[in-house]
C-alpha cells in the first residue's frame, strides 16, 4: 500500500488521452455513418427510410454496455477470430454515435421547411445540390447545439470501455484506487477530470443554443 501522490494524479490525467482517442475514433467513423442514417431517414426511397429508422431504433434501444460486450466478447466467438480490444470498442462506439447523431441530424433536416427543397428544385438544382447548398447548411446550424450536447454523452460514455479492461480514465481510476486504497480521493479526482472535460462542452452547447435561437 502506498499513498496517493502527484504521480497518481499525472497517471490519471494521462489516461485522459485514451478517452480522447475513443471520442475521436467514435466521431471519425460514427459521424459519416450518422450522416448516412440521417439522410436515409429523409430519403425518397421507402426501404432506405425503413432500414435507417430500424437501425436507429435498435441501437438506441440497447444499452451501450450491451453493445460493448456484444462486440468485445460475443462477436469474436461468433466469427472465430481474435478481435483487438480497440477494434471491438471502436465498432461499438461508432454504432452508438451513428445512431444518436443520425437521429439528431434527422431532426435538424426535418426542421428545415419543405419549401426550401422545392425552391432549390425550382432553381434547377439536383437533389444532392439542394442538400449540399440549401438544406444541409441550415440543418447544420440547427443541430449544432444538440450535437455538442451529445459529445458530452459520448465523453461520459467512454467510461464504459473501462469495464472490458480498456485503460482509459475510468479504468486508470480503478487501478490507482486499488493501489492506494484511497477510493475517495481517486474517484473524486477522476470525477473532477471528467467534469473539467465535459463542462466546457456543456457551456459551449448552451451558448450555441442561445446564439442560434436568438438570431432566428
Amino acid at each position: 500500500m502506498r499513498s496517493f501522490t502527484f504521480i497518481d494524479f499525472v497517471s490519471l490525467l494521462s489516461a485522459l488521452r485514451w478517452t480522447v482517442v475513443l471520442v475521436v475514433l467514435a466521431l471519425g467513423f460514427g459521424a459519416p455513418l450518422g450522416l448516412g442514417l440521417a439522410t436515409g431517414r429523409i430519403s425518397r426511397l421507402a426501404p432506405l427510410r425503413w432500414i435507417s429508422a430500424a437501425a436507429i431504433q435498435v441501437i438506441q434501444g440497447v444499452p451501450l454496455l450491451g453493445l460493448l460486450f456484444f462486440f468485445y466478447f460475443g462477436m469474436p466467438v461468433f466469427l472465430g477470430i481474435q478481435v483487438p480490444a480497440l477494434v471491438a470498442v471502436t465498432v461499438a462506439y461508432t454504432l452508438y454515435t451513428a445512431a444518436f447523431l443520425g437521429d439528431i441530424w434527422r431532426g435538424g433536416l426535418e426542421a428545415v421547411k419543405q419549401a426550401q427543397w422545392e425552391a432549390g428544385a425550382c432553381l434547377g438544382l439536383s437533389r444532392w445540390q439542394q442538400f449540399r447548398h440549401i438544406v444541409g447548411p441550415q440543418a447544420l446550424r440547427l443541430s449544432l447545439p444538440p450535437t455538442v450536447g451529445f459529445l458530452v454523452q459520448l465523453v461520459k460514455g467512454t467510461s464504459l470501455a473501462s469495464i472490458i479492461g480498456f485503460v482509459e480514465l475510468a479504468r486508470a481510476g480503478q487501478v490507482v484506487s486499488a493501489a492506494t486504497f484511497q477510493p475517495l480521493l481517486t474517484y473524486a479526482v477522476v470525477a473532477a477530470i471528467y467534469f473539467a472535460t465535459c463542462l466546457p462542452l456543456t457551456l459551449w452547447s448552451r451558448s450555441l443554443e442561445a446564439r442560434l435561437d436568438g438570431s432566428r
Binding site: 444499452p63 461520459k156 467510461s159 474517484y187 477522476v190 470525477a191 465535459c198 456543456t202
Partner: protein, 219 residues
C-alpha cells in the same frame, strides 16, 4: 450459434429483468421527486438554493454515471454509510436521473406563457387553482416527451449497476456467460431483452401520451 443451452437459465433471466425494472422505476420515482423539488427551487427567490441546485445539476450531468455509482458504492462506506449494491445503484441512478429531470421539468414550467398565468389571476383564481388548472396541464404535456425518452435512457443505464454486482439483468448475463461460455448468444439475448423493454415502454408512453394529452385538439 446455439441458443438451447441458455434455456436452463430462463428463471435467472426473468429475475434479472424484474430487478432491472424495479431499479428503473425506483430511480425514476425518486429522480422525478428530486426533479420537481429542484425545479421549484430554481424558480424560487432564494439565491443560495438556486446556486446549490445549479451546482448539483452541472456536477451530475457532466460526470459519468458509472463513476457516480462507484463513488456511492465504494466511497460512502468510508463515511460510515455502507449501502448494498442494489441500494447504492438506486441512489446513484436517482441522483443522475434527478439532475436531468430538474431541467426537463423547469423547461416544461417555463414553456407556459406568463400571460396565461396572469389571465388566470385576473379571473380571480387562487394560487393553487392557477397552478393545477392553468400551469400544470400544458407544462406536463411539454415535459412529457423529454421525461419519457430520459426514462428509456435510464432503463438502459441501469445496466451499469452490474458493475457493483447488483443482480440486475446485465449482471445475470455475466453469470450465465461464466457458466456456459456462450458469449455471443448470451449478449445477443440480453440486448434483445433490453430492446424489447425499451420498445415496450416507448409504445406504452406513446399510447398514454396520445390519450392523456389529446385535449388541445378536441373542442
Amino acid at each position: 450459434m446455439n441458443f438451447l443451452p441458455l434455456w436452463r437459465y430462463r428463471d435467472q433471466l426473468i429475475d434479472g429483468t424484474i430487478v432491472t425494472l424495479e431499479l428503473t422505476v425506483i430511480a425514476a420515482c425518486f429522480g422525478l421527486l428530486i426533479g420537481t423539488a429542484g425545479a421549484v427551487a430554481l424558480k424560487g427567490r432564494v439565491k443560495p438554493t438556486r446556486w446549490l441546485v445549479r451546482g448539483y445539476i452541472e456536477l451530475f450531468r457532466n460526470t459519468p454515471s458509472l463513476i457516480q455509482i462507484f463513488i456511492v458504492f465504494f466511497v460512502l462506506p468510508s463515511f460510515g454509510l455502507k449501502l448494498p449494491a442494489f441500494e447504492a445503484a438506486a441512489v446513484a441512478l436517482s441522483l443522475y436521473f434527478g439532475a436531468y429531470s430538474i431541467e426537463i421539468i423547469r423547461s416544461g414550467l417555463d414553456s407556459v406563457p406568463k400571460s396565461q398565468i396572469e389571465a388566470g389571476q385576473c379571473l380571480g383564481l387562487s394560487g393553487w387553482q392557477v397552478f393545477f388548472h392553468i400551469l400544470l396541464p400544458p407544462a406536463l404535456r411539454n415535459a412529457y416527451p423529454a421525461v419519457t425518452s430520459q426514462f428509456v435512457l435510464l432503463l438502459l443505464g441501469t445496466s451499469l449497476a452490474s458493475q457493483v454486482a447488483a443482480d440486475e439483468l446485465f449482471h445475470v448475463a455475466g453469470f450465465i456467460e461464466s457458466r456456459t461460455y456462450r458469449s455471443f448468444e448470451v449478449y445477443a439475448i440480453i440486448c434483445a431483452v433490453y430492446f424489447a423493454m425499451a420498445m415496450s415502454f416507448k409504445i406504452l408512453f406513446a399510447v398514454v401520451g396520445a390519450l392523456a394529452f389529446r385535449w388541445p385538439r378536441r373542442r
